[in-house]
């Protein structure tokens, strides 16, 4: 066998080996997912839930899995965990109507459950707009407007005709404005999702207190499904803020991060 051929085989092995492992991993997820769906359709919701949970524990983050898991919890009468999983699914696929509808219905089952904005004032207002547009739309808009700005600027700069150049620069200004708007909204959304700790209350209702301990004064009762922002953690307690602005401390085990 010539040296050239050996090199070629080694190169192809190096390139393809990681892909084979990925494909293998994905196919095992698919098997579990199909199994979970089968359980669900047969009415074995608890088994279906376990299958979806296994997929997630293995490290796969997928909107369809979170969505189906949310449905399982809805059927099992646990709207808190259903909201948690719908929120996770929503983050990955904001445009999906099924996810948004089921999230809306799950929230309607829990009085006081609403999404919480990390920012206040203008930040909150921008976040509302950004959330209604969705991360995918904003990412695409930012990408398109950025490339459009670059293309128009290049066209204007390289044009030999003054009139064309002027038109192109005006169009560049418009595209740049659109880019800035979409980039700011995207930045606000990323800031809220990546740098703000959102969580959902799970399990049983717990008493929220004005300090990190059972001896502090009761503030309100936190029910499963409440959505909140977590500020800090101390002695097994977390400081949270609800959508209505109430701030209190609850046991860390009573909430799960989105």
């Amino acid at each position: 066998m010539s040296n050239c051929r050996i090199r070629w085989i080694i190169l192809m092995s190096v390139v393809l080996l990681p892909w084979t492992s990925v494909l293998k991993a994905d196919s095992s997820y698919d098997g579990l997912f199909r199994k979970g769906n089968q359980y669900y359709q047969n009415g074995d919701v608890a088994l279906a839930r376990d299958a979806y949970e296994t997929i997630i524990k293995q490290g796969l983050s997928n909107a369809a899995v979170f969505y189906n898991l949310g449905n399982c919890y809805m059927k099992l009468g646990d709207p808190g965990r259903a909201i948690l999983n719908y929120r996770k699914a929503e983050r990955l696929d904001y445009g999906d109507r099924d996810i948004r509808t089921n999230l809306e219905i799950a929230r309607s089952l829990v009085a006081g459950s609403e999404s919480v904005a990390g920012a206040g004032g203008v930040g909150n207002w921008l976040l509302r707009i950004a959330s209604s547009a969705g991360a995918t739309t904003l990412t695409i808009a930012t990408f398109v407007t950025w490339w459009l700005t670059a293309a128009l600027f290049v066209s204007g700069s390289t044009s030999r005709f003054r009139r064309t150049r002027r038109r192109m620069f005006r169009a560049t200004a418009g595209a740049l404005f659109a880019f800035v708007v979409s980039a700011v909204l995207l930045a606000v959304l990323i800031g809220d999702r990546e740098f703000t700790d959102h969580a959902v209350a799970i399990d049983q209702p717990v008493i929220a207190r004005n300090g990190p301990g059972d001896h502090f004064t009761e503030v309100f009762e936190q029910r499963p499904g409440y959505e909140m922002i977590v500020h800090r953690k101390q002695n097994g307690w977390v400081e949270i803020t609800l959508s209505n602005g109430y701030t209190a401390w609850v046991p860390a085990k009573s909430v799960e991060w989105i």
Partner: protein, 628 residues
Amino acid sequence: MGDMLNRRMKSIGSLIVLLLWSMMSPNTAIGSITVTARVDRNRVTIFERINYSIQIDSDSRKIPEPSFPVFKGFRQLGSPRTSSQMSWVNGVVSNSQTYMIVIEAREEGSFTFEPAKVVMDGRVIQSAPVTVTVVKPGASTPDGDDEGGMEPDVSSDRLQSLFLQTVVENETPYVGEAVRVSYHVFTRVSIRDFGIQDEPEYQGFWVEPVDLPAQTTLHSRTIQGIEYGEASIHEVVLYPTVSGELVIPPLVMVFQIQDRRQDPFDNFFNSPFRSSVFGTRQETRSSQTKIIHAKPLPEDGKPLGFSGAAGDFKLEASIRNHSVKVGEAITINVILSGNHGLKTIGSPVPPELPKLKVFEPKAEDAVQDPETPGWWRRTYEYVLVAHEPGELTIPGFSFSYFDTETETYKILKTKDFSVSVAPAPAGEQPLSYSSSGREMKIFNIDVQYIKTGNNLKHQVPVYSNKWFGIAMTLPIIIVPVILLIDSRRRRLEGDSVFAREVRARSESSRRFSEAVLACKEDDYNRALDAAATGFSRYLADRLGLPTGGITWNSILKEIDARSVKEPIIEQVKDYWQDLETARYGPVQPSPDAVGNLINKGRNLVDKLEKTRMNPKKGSANKRRAISR
């Protein structure tokens, strides 16, 4: 030093003599004593509070404690507070001790408190009895204070430099109707701070607190010719829950008053109960009791589903989605607004919807209506889910209330909505669930579907994708590159000297390639000519010399004017000399010598390519002149 000691001894001696004399004086031995009992007001309304005080004046240094009477019809609040004064004028000692207690009227009628008693040296000294009349709120006072159109209605016995007044917006409301109660302070003194001591217990009412501005502003008011500063300092909205006479108890507030008179002794002697003599003092005031007559709502014409709301209301509704699929949620927002806090009333009633599942509405907190001052608004979000496809008409939501203006029941209804329900996509497994109240139950209603399919991929938000980062970075690199290329293109088009410089290498390479070809064809003369042309044209292009009529002398002259290193110039000269010799010499060069010359020329061009040929100082303009 001795004088000072003598004077001190004398004054101490005088003091001892004075003390002995006072101890032996007849007043001390006999001990005269008077007891006076009084109240700050003799006529009060029920639940009002008054101060009952016993003052004991004596020429004795030691005053015994008095015994208080039984306050029938009143409730004693707290223990007595005491203060004392002692003076010594012209050798006569006068001692005064005052005991004060706060009592609250609990029954109507005229009450005479028995005399306060003091036992001293076996003698019982008693005060005169005190009579207090407790009347119903709103009853006229004997001195006719309510007459004369005074605003607000303040009886004379309440007119002090500081007093609280209860103002009730409507004294004959219907059950469920909002009654705004505000507590006004009237003052002629400077108030530094105030706070509620006792919040009244409003029995028979549902209470809603009203947020007042943090900064209290006094307005000028004249009552019986006296100018007061007036401000509302506490407000509540009360909703009677039962009909009949309902009591609004007094509000007790504590005020920190800034004394205008700064003489501490003046303050001290004028008011024995002041807590401080350093410019501020604490005063307690209570407002008067009010009685309102809550009217029952008429039974006639009471609509079905009436939730007890009384007042004035408006109802609006909007739908979020007019077309849905089977199992998808239809969201209807219903906004109820009214001159009512809205917290006590039930939600609007959804219509009968047999083809829809109606979830319990999610109600937002009531907020002030920005469009109508004094009104509140509350949004109820109803989620409905269609069971089957088709065109649906959702009848309006209704809300019934008792209009207190017209004293009739009214029913508000929102407009109907049309909704188009499309069939659910085929092949998808429905999720069946629903809710009853807050309890989850399994229903056979298809709401949504689980997601099926293969090729599950690990998803990350689009913005986290590395390709997005690369795609966003690319224009930052590409745009400057394009602009540089364009700039070069333009220069090549507009600057012929620069263009020749740029093309010099490729042109010479072509000529040298021709020379190599000619060499292979054994045409050595042509090869030498091509090499010479290639080399001379290269230098002419690099130096910006005109190609026509180029001579070796002109090239050398131009090279000398450039900042080229001497060894390179020497190499150029040598090579040119070799070429000339080979071309025009008497001996025909060997094929190898021609090949060497061609290679040497190529190498020299490579070397020159790396050499800058900038004009020397003083000849800078020359090249520019050529390029033009």
